[in-house]
């Protein structure tokens, strides 16, 4: 395991913090890239997902497209677009936005689908217009699953954005490739540890965001209690059993 010791020493070495190729610069580049890619993917996937979730139409098409997009190998897409576009960030942005779309799309429509139909019906019967229903009922209630989708997308992009360094002088992936090519294991492992730390930090942020975003009264993290089958504690029943096992 002294490979890991070397990697830690590399991370802590102040020489690696200076200059345009230093750790802080690369970290920021990597983070910015991730945020922009997820944002671009959200701009495409969220409206489409909301539409599918609200109207209930086109779901199987969305699932099939998601599955298809998910299966596109990122390295393949990256090299292909890079051949057309040349070096720089164009190809990585295209490839990684495609990677990020399926989880966000799924989060968007699944969030809407998970909402109790009776809630929507009541909203309609009270006289809300369709857009009001979407804005004030479906979006707030569907937010937890959407955030879960964005979280998943972010994690995948952070891990895969290392590939951007294949065609551009950008991001934490530079440490991976430079270390790989010059056989500097410390640099390579150090770089990967940094990517993992970044991913964990983002996961932590998302956990907090998910808790904040859930509207009051909605159970966080579990499927909403199915009213039709709510537990009717009979006499003498152990609450541990009726509460269920989630």
């Amino acid at each position: 395991m002294n490979l890991f010791v070397d990697a830690f020493n590399w991370i802590l070495d102040p020489a690696n913090y200076a200059g345009p190729g230093g750790i802080p610069v690369r970290l920021v580049e990597h983070l910015v890239f991730t945020v922009v890619a997820v944002l671009l993917a959200s701009l495409i996937a969220i409206p489409v997902g909301f539409l599918i979730g609200h109207t209930g139409r086109g779901r199987s098409l969305a699932v099939a497209t998601s599955g298809g997009l998910r299966s596109i190998p990122t390295l393949g897409l990256l090299t292909l677009v890079a051949l057309w576009v040349g070096i720089g960030l164009g190809a990585p942005y295209v490839a990684l936005t495609v990677l990020a779309i399926p989880p966000i799309l799924a989060g968007a429509y699944a969030g809407f689908e998970a909402i109790d139909r009776s809630t929507i019906d009541s909203a309609r019967s009270v006289g809300m217009s369709e857009s009001q229903i979407v804005r004030t009922v479906e979006i707030p209630l569907g937010l937890p699953l959407l955030i879960a989708g964005i979280r998943s997308a972010t994690l995948q992009v952070v891990a895969t954005a290392t590939l951007a360094a294949y065609v551009a002088d950008f991001g934490l992936g530079r440490f991976l490739f430079a270390g790989l090519k010059t056989r500097d294991y410390a640099e390579m492992l150090g770089g990967s540890l940094l990517v993992i730390l970044l991913a964990l930090a983002l996961e932590g942020i998302f956990t907090v965001v998910q808790r904040l975003v859930v509207p009051k009264g909605v159970a966080f993290g579990r499927p909403p209690v199915d009213r039709a089958r709510s537990a009717r504690p009979g006499p003498g029943m152990d609450p541990a059993i009726t509460k269920g096992n989630h």
Binding site: R70, L80, A110, E203
Partner: protein, 228 residues
């Protein structure tokens, strides 16, 4: 496109190589994830630990993992076993959460009835919980299959021949047709395995041929597909 016609045998060989590299991890991920997911579901304390650990695992970038695994397991760097271990780890990371959620979604009433009727602990798992969680597990397994096929292409960088070799070779020589062929075959293979799993699901879980009427199972099944 003439390149494709003159290199059909190369494409076929690579596809077979890729199949042999991606199917074992899918099966192994399932086999490892089920007990882990069961543990996470059964023991409250374990759940947080196991799920965080699997999230961590998925965050590890694939390329460095290929170099770390030989150091830890002692496999040769170039060995396809290297790639299979890495892909299995990613598959398990994805699948554990799905298994935990799937088992958790089994209606407690059903479980209680099984206990009442006299099923033993083992039988409850095999004959009640697992089949009922089946659709959710299948949805998760389909996602694992697709992402394994896609991820296996990265192995080309360390010398494990697969459809990914078409990307590196096409990239070096500037042959777009080769890269496009590689992408199309990867997607095709993923969709093929996905289809096989769907058929498998119909065979093993025939009661799901009708859309589930239990809204709770339906909801959890869709959640399993969603953020994974």
């Amino acid at each position: 496109m003439t390149w494709i016609w003159s290199n059909l045998d190369l494409l076929w060989d690579r596809t077979l190589d890729h199949l042999v590299l991606s199917v074992p991890p899918i099966i192994l991920s399932f086999l490892f994830a089920v007990p882990l997911g069961w543990l996470a579901n059964r023991y409250r304390a374990g759940r947080g630990v196991i799920l965080t650990a699997s999230g961590l695992l998925y965050a590890i970038p694939s390329l460095p993992l290929f170099f770390v695994i030989p150091a830890v397991f002692g496999t040769s760097l170039r060995s396809p076993l290297n790639l299979i271990i890495a892909l299995t780890l990613y598959g398990v990371a994805l699948m554990v959460r799905v298994v935990a959620d799937g088992l958790a979604s089994v209606d407690t009433d059903v479980r209680q009835s099984a206990v009442a009727v006299g099923y033993s602990g083992w039988s409850i798992f095999w004959q009640v919980e697992l089949p009922l969680a089946g659709p959710v597990l299948l949805a998760g397994l389909r996602v694992v299959a697709v992402s394994t096929v896609s991820l296996a292409t990265v192995g080309a960088v360390i010398g494990a021949q697969s459809l990914g070799s078409l990307f590196t070779d096409g990239f070096q020589r500037g042959i777009q047709a080769e890269i496009i062929a590689g992408i199309v075959l990867t997607v095709g293979l993923a969709l093929l395995l996905d289809g096989v799993l769907v058929v498998l699901g119909r065979i093993l879980l025939p009661w799901t041929r009708r859309a589930p009427t239990n809204r709770r199972t339906l909801r959890v099944a869709r959640m399993a597909e969603a953020p994974a």
